[in-house]
Assembly symmetry: D2
Homo-oligomer: 331 residues x 4
């Protein structure tokens, strides 16, 4: 395996909660060295505590394009370009092959160095990673029901008021269910062989309900699904497939790639966010209660847990960047 | 409407969390007067604080039978007799007609005064009440997915350790998913015309996942369902049916019957347990986010909220008792 | 006792958390009828959810003066005029006699109808009410140590971010310790016999430390104090004095005056905010663990609990208004 | 510095919350190797989850004595022997010199290898460590007021019910205030020059109030104190003394000794348990808001924070054991 080169990097929108996680992860990174921080005009001239905020999504898109045009490699956590057909939407333990659209993206934008890659919405990760493992083993999933219980850090800082979440559940997160349904189809889709387009897994139907709960970090999801293949694989076969799953991030040698990408629990009451969100520094997705659906509607049910600001945001983009370096897209 | 008579009553298992709720509700009741308290041998001779506990389910069943044989009317929150084919399992805003099996029950047990009626598991209520409203209007539900986020008081006192639930979700409650699936079928079923047997709604399939969250009172459920009737009613028609639903408890004039039995919210982020669990003193079930399933798997999705120790436990039995009095089963 | 007249009233700053409490309390009030609502320019044209905020303290002072000059009776929860020597700073179960400076205030401002009365900072109430009872019985307190554990609603809405308080304590509330120390001296002070000036209890020394904890409503305080009188009263005598305390609000017949103003608990682990904050609808201050200081530094120690948005804010002003009506200052 | 030898060790009472912390810390320890686990009879034959509990304090004392008599070095977290005049009560960053009573202890018990050393109650640590630093620089403290806000893990597992602490404060912890006051005097005391007795700092008066709050780990204390020396040192001088404090644990080269033993924060709102409890793996005590008492009762006020199951329990005993090895008391 080639030695990993040292690279300089910067964080734009550094005062937000994901920006802070980027800084924390990069401060410990063996090869990526933090050299620049940027924040929105909104934060300028304010005391730090008043400036804590992510990059406004109404300006993030344009700024990212400008940076790309200036020849920089941009790995974005904002939602602006996620549905752009020329921008890879990548979870590093699912679809690093989507990075191979970068040459085509450069040709379209007449750029020989810049690139733009998005990571997914934080709630998608807990679904897409186990789905990737199951589909690799047993073919396409037909439909799925996903009910999430999401951490407050997913709403940024200050985000959720303590008066709204203490002794409470908020059964609604604006825009989240739609993102979960649409982003999963792009991430789990394929690329055309000429490397110029993505083909979504458009037959995959997902019915999502997203809730906010009083948890600091870690999104929990109750998932139920039906396979196209009938009769379906048994729960035991599914556990085996989840446990044996490896991702291209491991094969490439990404320094931050989790091993394993999926941890499967046998205990009936796991995973739990406080106990399990920091597995492999938050890069591993945990899965438990993998079982047949006794209700007879679905083939399989399980619980998944993912750290929403690590593998679900900053950490996802860091492994994406590592992979882009190892694939030679960043010189 | 006949005047409601004053009756004496007692609470057995009075030191548990549901027992405490019974006492609280009865202390304010206009007609039911608390005259006796009983606790398990386990609690005898202990300081109160050490004795807080429900009746052991391994003795509750026998004790209830003895009381019934002694000619008393027993309304039980324990699980022992819920699946007994000669015992009504009743949510008062759903199936008070099941009380009409009492004459048959008495004949079987050669008793002319005693009776035994169970209320349901607390998690069933948030599903069975809106299902009753929808099925009354649109015919049988084919299948449903239910994911609950349940309050800690549902586990009794001391119940859930603070170390297990703070900043956490526990995605498992022992036995709960099974109870939810099987009790719903009995409660939503019918009675034979001769009043001697229940006929379960055996075609109803429910796939449940039950979670414990850091909420004091109030079980929240994300529900998705498909009707037998195709094409199904629209979301607007379902909202109308939920909003217009009335129960036999209202028609009978039960003093504690909630009006309305179901409150439908239009706000996108309601119901919420802290804000809405005490509607109509905890006897109303709240429903919100009633919408079509864009995922295409189900016909309808909604969120429901029910107060687990009021309509889901002690309060349910109190209205059951009121109805038994009004129906003439208690002299 | 004279019959209480019906009066129209309005709430300025109605979108804040205290404003909301005002509206809630007034909506149930038997005599005060809510006729007008006002909010800051900042809130104008915004959706309600974006406008939730109190009146900016940098404009509240001027606005209050304008309303007073227009002949209105203003009862204020803002801090602007609390230290004004011509403005009564009143906790209704402590110093309603301070309202008798109103004629002098009117003379100074050449107004024959307007008036301005402030309620105290929410953290002062849990100290000043028991101190009033003890000083009435045993003479002046020499010095006291007060450590508070304050609810998040005291910071307004959205106020404290869930990310700051979950699984946490914040041992600092800006400006709070100073307010507690200075406001107590004015409230517990006397009025000159000619009704033109307040005389602070300047010899009273208070050492305060204020903390924010993860509680929705209800400020808890650990209090220790030394009397001027030596030897001091016993703990039993102090309990008696606290329990027997009555306030002018009761004597006047204020409809919302709590009875008793102070509830003394004998249980060793009470009061607790979740269990006891709503006593007498939140107007009663609870006191417990009244005991001698075994450490030998103070004479007496106790725990107090007060509902910060009822007796500590909106409710305090409502009883102040009731008293002003009953005293004839509002026609 | 001599190389640290590798030693075998065991944990008795291994199923309790402190026992679990012992196992966690020892599993990562470079030299102490875990070879044996013991639990109470109460735990025998139970499933692990039912057996989680500390050693009953009514048997712990006798068992410890038996182990000591068998020639083992016993480092105890139980309260039984803490006040025994022949047993060192040691916080490793305060009074490791108390270990030098071990030869005398052995002589009394006719043992040439066994020894028994206790660590302190978890709430004492946040007081005794800064007091040691201040007294080393400025001479004895005359009196102090201490109000704690203690984490739920301090009550063991399952310990505090979620129903008791959610949205709540419990202003009472049985026996805790007394322990805080009496243990501090022994720990901060001296040893006679012949190494046969401890002399308590009996002139030190402490007035304590202990509260339980909804925090997982980390006890926060609001401390106010008066020095014997008058005029007292300034707040700046105290900050300097706290910051420069080093302990014998560092000088000896204990592998787990924190460096620094005390972290002083300049930020006005720190330390906070969630943010700061894990400093130096939980072995450092954090101090903030070091300031003059404007109330004029005390000389100095500050906030302290200590990790109750690390430096306040298991971690304390581990450093005690390291020191006993380095001092040659364990061969």
């Amino acid at each position: 395996m080639a030695e990993f080169p040292t690279k300089k990097c910067g964080v734009l929108g550094c005062t937000g909660s994901v920006g802070q996680r980027f800084i924390l992860l990069l401060s410990k990174h063996p090869y990526l060295k933090l050299h620049a921080l940027g924040a929105s005009a909104r934060s300028a001239g304010k005391k730090y505590k008043d400036a804590v905020s992510g990059l406004d999504s109404d300006v993030a898109g344009d700024i990212e394009t400008e940076f790309q045009n200036a020849g920089l490699a941009v790995f974005s956590n904002s939602k602006n370009h996620r549905q752009d057909p020329t921008v890879p939407l990548v979870i590093p333990t699912v679809n690093l092959n989507h990075l191979d659209l970068i040459p085509h993206q450069r040709k379209l934008r007449s750029s020989d160095k810049g690139l733009l890659v998005c990571n997914s919405n934080c709630a998608v990760v807990g679904v897409a990673v186990p789905f990737a493992a199951l589909q690799a083993a047993f073919g396409p999933i037909d439909f799925a029901s996903v009910v999430t219980m999401q951490a407050v850090s997913g709403a940024g800082y200050p985000g959720v008021s303590s008066m709204d979440i203490m002794d409470n559940v908020v059964p609604f997160i604006s825009g989240e269910e739609d993102k979960l349904e649409t982003e999963a189809r792009k991430i789990l889709g394929t690329m055309t062989t000429d490397g110029t387009a993505f083909e979504e897994q458009s037959a995959l139907r997902i019915s999502a309900a997203c809730n906010r709960v009083g948890v600091m970090d870690g999104h929990t999801a109750c998932v139920a699904l039906k396979f196209m293949r009938q009769p379906p694989p048994s729960a035991e076969e599914c556990i085996e497939a989840l446990r044996n799953y490896t991702s291209e991030a491991n094969a490439l040698g990404c320094p931050s790639a989790p091993n394993p990408p999926i941890k499967v629990f046998d205990e009936p009451d796991r995973p739990q966010p406080r106990l399990d969100r920091d597995l492999e520094s938050g890069y591993t997705v945990s899965v438990g209660r993998v079982r047949k659906d006794d209700g007879g509607i679905f083939d399989l049910k399980f619980v998944s847990l993912s750290h929403n600001t690590v593998i679900g945001a900053a950490g996802g983009s860091i492994v994406n960047a590592e992979a882009a370096i190892l694939k030679g897209y960043i010189q």
